[in-house]
């Protein structure tokens, strides 16, 4: 077979079986790296390949599964040596049979961020090196297999597409529950890997043919009928005592028979299978033609663990957006991701299915902030994201680091915009929103908006974006300004949906700008739009009126069968009473003679660790008092009381932290008030915090950040696993004079020492305090720190003394 004919076969191809299994049978020593044998014992490797080729395998996977720099460490061989030798062994065995040789590529053996410390671009670079070596050695195709982390597979696919034109087969391993180790679903794998340009997708390892079959069915259903699908199951399940697998070659062949119905492009085996297993597959798949009947493709947006099928009304949270929100703008300017994360988590808890992410604040480096925001949000929320920007560079950066299949908001009818942004959507496999406007603005008439929509759709199809990934936004106009045009939006939406075969989207809340009681208008407009066929509603999920309209609509249109979702959300709830009863949200601050006077209730709430109460009391106080007065007169004294009790040993860490959490919520109210008034932040000093390079344990550092913020300091938190240069650069740029570093492990203290040395070497006028479980006073001195802080309370004391503040 020629490589270019790989996908033109009229019969299911056979892949090979286990390599490790064959090597173990040949006496592979414990701990020996199989890939090293490509150089140490090439005859053995070649003979195993030859046995598979003789058994009927049309594609031989070279013995390069673990040929990454990380996994080869200690063998004395380079990636290039191992791959060249491995491909060579397979090619020699393949030649007499006309089989193709695949560069076989597995996971790198390191976990990617955010769970691990391997940066996404570093993973792309490692895979690029592997792929280039495979191409140089003459591989016919690239076979990514046994992946469990979709993010790592994305890095591998990008590296492959950016470095070669070889066909790509990609396969993940799923557990019995239908998810990979990292929680990735079959559908998320299908949507993401297909979008990133894999030519065939499959499932391998972990389970036997019987267990994999239902997942293979799901995989086939999630892909177009003509898209190639393959499987490589294990020889059943491992026996509990470790004595091998429980399925014989005959049983394996029997269990593979149902796969004929899936029109597989290829089939083979993984762990525990041998040439005997493959040989019996010849008759199983004889006369089996690849491909399935065409079927309508669902519109899917996803992260690894959360695959959202857009089939009817779907709520997109609109709150990660700086427009008209001073506190948000301030957070973006300061690079304060914690604020964005709070907004993200609260929208997820309100029931949003997708989150819109817009970080376009004038004067900030939007591409950099977009990438950072996407990573940060994906580290805490699993909802799919809508990347909202008109800046192509910001979209490109965000799309690259996004884990899963996102949607881009937006393009419009302008040719220049389409030409810049559609190729990005294609490359990264994203869905796209097209706004029905162009160089001439927003047409008043529905028909002209539909015309623009048609142009956008055709351009997207031409760029290679599947129809199900095209969404049209007919643009909500403000009823207070363009009342006569509101209905045109609804008409245009209906027509786009019916005649163009696209999905639709609207920013619903725009309708009510400038009018009172906005939820009334928003909800009615939303209902009109849903009735016309709205798919994505960009709105505030905290608006109960609007969410209720969505749930009710799904009941009344017979989508929410037996009203199950509606009942789950609303059973047992009582409707809020009319306006009068809804009024006072916070108790009035108590005047009186008790110590602390007007501030006493807030102090008490903080001391007792009551979050909601502390926020409510702060809101009430802010009606009368200056924000900074609340900090100095209530928050700091309350924290001092708690801190003193902690030092005396009359209360312990849990209570101290609950007080800190309560103060945190009070502080959020204060920051919002300060941002709204445009007053100076009143920071008592700026401090940089970081958990050092190589360390992912950042809980201690997070405690310190909250306590320092509660004492009125401005904290620039660089997060965990922070490179030395990032600490030095930020200290220089932001004119930092006090740096706090944390490290948990003995093995990462070295990074701490290097960071301190680099700060000194850079000649910056800054002092360093350090903390962490294994640190001691004397060790801190030894590595050049100015202070050792034994706990968060002490770090606050150091900061207060350093800046000379109370």
């Amino acid at each position: 077979m020629k490589a270019e004919d790989l996908f033109k076969q009229d019969n299911t191809l056979l892949l090979d079986g286990g390599m490790g299994t064959m090597l173990q049978a040949a006496g592979l020593a414990l701990g020996e790296k199989p890939e090293a044998l490509n150089l140490k014992d090439p005859a053995l490797i070649e003979s195993i390949h030859a046995r598979y080729a003789a058994a009927g395998s049309a594609i031989l996977n070279a013995n390069t599964f673990g040929a990454s720099a990380h996994k080869l460490a200690g063998t004395g061989y380079t990636v290039e040596q191992v791959i060249a030798a491995g491909i060579g062994c397979a090619k020699r065995a393949a030649a007499p049979y006309g089989a193709l040789v695949a560069l076989d590529v597995g996971p790198l053996g390191e976990l990617l961020e955010p769970s691990g410390t391997l940066a996404f671009e570093d993973a792309v670079e490692e895979y690029a090196r592997i792929v280039r070596a495979g191409v140089a050695a003459g591989a016919d195709l690239v076979f990514f297999e046994t992946f469990t982390d979709l993010y790592e597979l994305k890095a591998a696919l990008l590296a492959c597409k950016e470095n070669c034109d070889l066909p790509i087969l990609a396969s993940m391993s799923f557990e019995a529950g239908g998810r990979t180790f990292t929680g990735c679903t079959v559908e998320s794998f299908a949507a993401t890997a297909r979008g990133l340009g894999a030519d065939a997708l499959g499932i391998n390892c972990s389970l036997g043919p019987k267990e994999i079959f239902p997942m293979a069915q799901r995989l086939a259903a999630a892909l177009p009928g003509d898209y190639p699908v393959f499987v490589k199951p294990n020889a059943g399940l491992p026996r509990a005592d470790g004595s091998g697998y429980d399925v014989t070659p005959q049983l394996f062949a029997h269990q593979m028979k149902p796969y004929r119905a899936l029109g597989l492009f290829a089939a083979g085996g993984c762990c525990g299978t041998t040439p005997d297993y493959i040989r019996l597959l010849n008759s199983v798949f004889a006369g089996c033609q690849p491909g399935r009947e065409a079927h309508p493709m669902p519109s899917v947006l996803c992260t690894p663990v959360d695959c959202v099928t857009v089939d009817g009304i779907t709520v997109v949270g609109e709150r990660i957006n700086p427009t008209g929100k001073k506190r948000f703008q301030q957070a973006v300017r300061e690079g304060d991701m914690n604020y964005l994360l709070e907004v993200a988590v609260s929208q997820a808890e309100s029931g949003a299915a997708v989150l819109d992410v817009n970080v376009g604040v004038p004067g900030v480096d939007e591409p950099a902030v977009m990438a950072r925001a996407i990573k940060a949000i994906q580290s805490v929320v699993s909802l799919p994201l809508q990347l909202d920007s008109s800046n192509p560079e910001a979209l490109a950066r965000g799309l690259r680091v996004y884990n899963g299949k996102p949607i881009v908001n937006s393009v419009n009818g302008e040719r220049a915009v389409l030409e810049k942004i559609l190729p990005l959507c294609k490359k990264y496999g994203a869905a796209v929103v097209g706004l029905t406007l162009d160089e001439n603005g927003i047409p008043k008439e529905a028909a002209r908006r539909v015309e623009i929509a048609r142009r956008i759709r055709d351009a997207a199809l031409e760029a290679g974006i599947p129809r199900e990934d095209i969404y049209i936004d007919c643009l909500t106009l403000t009823a207070s300004a363009q009342q006569e045009d509101v209905l045109a939006t609804v008409q245009a939406l209906r027509e786009c949906k019916e005649t163009l075969g696209v999905r639709t989207v609207l920013g619903v809340s725009n309708i009510s700008f400038g009018l009172p009681c906005r939820p009334y208008l928003n909800t009615t407009f939303l209902t009109m739009a849903m009735s016309a066929g709205l798919d994505l509603a960009i709105m505030n999920p905290a608006s109960e009126e609007m969410m209720a309209a969505v749930y009710a609509y799904n009941v009344l249109t017979n989508r929410d069968k037996q009203s199950a979702a509606y009942i789950a959300r609303y059973a047992g709830r009582t409707l809020p009473q009319a306006a009068a009863a809804a009024a006072p949200s916070a108790p009035a601050p108590a005047e009186g003679a008790e110590p602390g006077g007007i501030y006493a209730p807030l102090m008490k709430a903080v001391e007792q660790g009551l979050k909601g109460e502390a926020a409510a009391q702060t809101r009430a106080l802010l009606a009368e008092k200056e924000p900074l007065a609340v900090v100095d007169e209530a928050l700091i004294p309350a924290l001092d009381v708690v801190g003193a009790k902690y030092e005396k040993g009359t209360l312990f860490l849990p209570q101290l932290l609950q007080a800190a959490s309560a103060a945190q919520s009070a502080f959020e109210e204060i920051k919002t008030a300060i941002a709204k008034n445009g007053a100076a932040g009143g920071s008592k000093g700026r401090i940089l915090l970081a958990t050092v390079k190589g360390d992912v344990h950042d809980i201690g550092k997070n405690i310190v950040r909250v306590i320092l913020e509660n004492y009125g300091f401005e904290v620039i938190d660089l997060g965990r696993d922070v490179p030395v240069e990032a600490v030095v650069e930020t200290a220089r740029e932001k004119e930092i004079h006090l740096v706090g570093l944390s490290a948990l492990m003995t093995t990462t203290l070295k990074s701490m020492e290097e960071t301190i040395a680099a700060l000194h070497a850079a000649g910056l006028d800054c002092k360093v305090m350090v903390g962490g479980a294994v640190l001691t006073e004397s060790y801190a001195k030894q590595i050049g720190a100015d202070w050792y802080a034994k706990d968060a309370k002490q770090s606050a004391d150091i900061a207060r003394a350093f800046f000379g503040v109370s």
Partner: protein, 226 residues
């Protein structure tokens, strides 16, 4: 028990997290107060939902592990055992995400979640050890308790080798970073001695512990063993 081949071990998710143990990791002394208990209860649900415990073990002769078993404490622990069982357990990356999420805007919940996850990891390890003990008993063999890198003078620098022998990235999704940290974070590796005679192993005690100078338990005349 097959030798020299990493083998998965079925471990079930406990129905509940041991809140008393979690409160101890959280820093409470004695009986946790109602506020702390309520916080732990609130965070336990999402953590249990996110946890996907997995384990893998490998039986091997002492002679083939000479590069792995170093130091006198591990040696003492394995006294009288010609063979070992290596064990790795992880709660999965979902737990790390749940801890991060619970900590957003609420540092107390973040730390409580971390403590809960540590308690859960310990429970899963106990279950895994019990399952191994049962496998061993089936062949009239005995196991010592668990001894982990970082105990006594057995350095965490052996983690990459342990992970490699157990093939943990592929078997249970556990990787070791260049600075010897395990990711996902809530993971445990250990060695247990395997013998034909009943064995108990040996606890390293505080003598070599990296935390001995500042350990709060030790200052109070207690140990971290509870």
């Amino acid at each position: 028990m097959q030798k020299n081949i990493p083998c998965p071990l079925g471990v079930e998710l406990p129905a509940q997290i041991d809140l008393v143990e979690a409160a101890r990791y959280f820093g409470a002394r004695g009986q946790p107060d109602p506020g702390t208990l309520a916080l732990l209860e609130r965070c336990a649900g999402p953590l249990l939902k996110a946890a996907a415990p997995r384990a893998v073990w490998l039986r091997a002769g002492r002679e083939s592990l000479s590069g792995l078993i170093r130091g006198k404490d591990a040696e003492k622990h394995l006294a009288g055992c010609g063979e070992c069982v290596l064990l790795a357990v992880t709660l999965g990356a979902g737990v790390d995400e749940a801890i991060r999420r619970l900590g957003v805007g609420d540092i107390a919940a973040g730390v409580a979640a971390d403590a809960l996850a540590s308690a859960l990891a310990e429970q899963v390890c106990d279950a895994a050890e019990a399952a191994l003990r049962q496998l061993a008993a089936g062949e009239s063999l005995y196991l010592t308790g668990r001894f982990s890198p970082g105990y006594g003078d057995w350095p965490i620098q052996v983690q990459p080798e342990l992970a490699r022998l157990l093939d943990t990235p592929r078997r249970i999704g556990l990787c070791v970073t260049d600075s010897f940290l395990m990711t996902p974070r809530k993971s445990v590796t250990a060695v247990l001695g395997l013998s034909e005679q009943p064995v108990t192993g040996w606890r390293a005690g505080c003598g070599q512990c990296a935390l001995r100078e500042k350990c709060e338990y030790r200052k109070r005349g207690q140990t971290c063993e509870g």
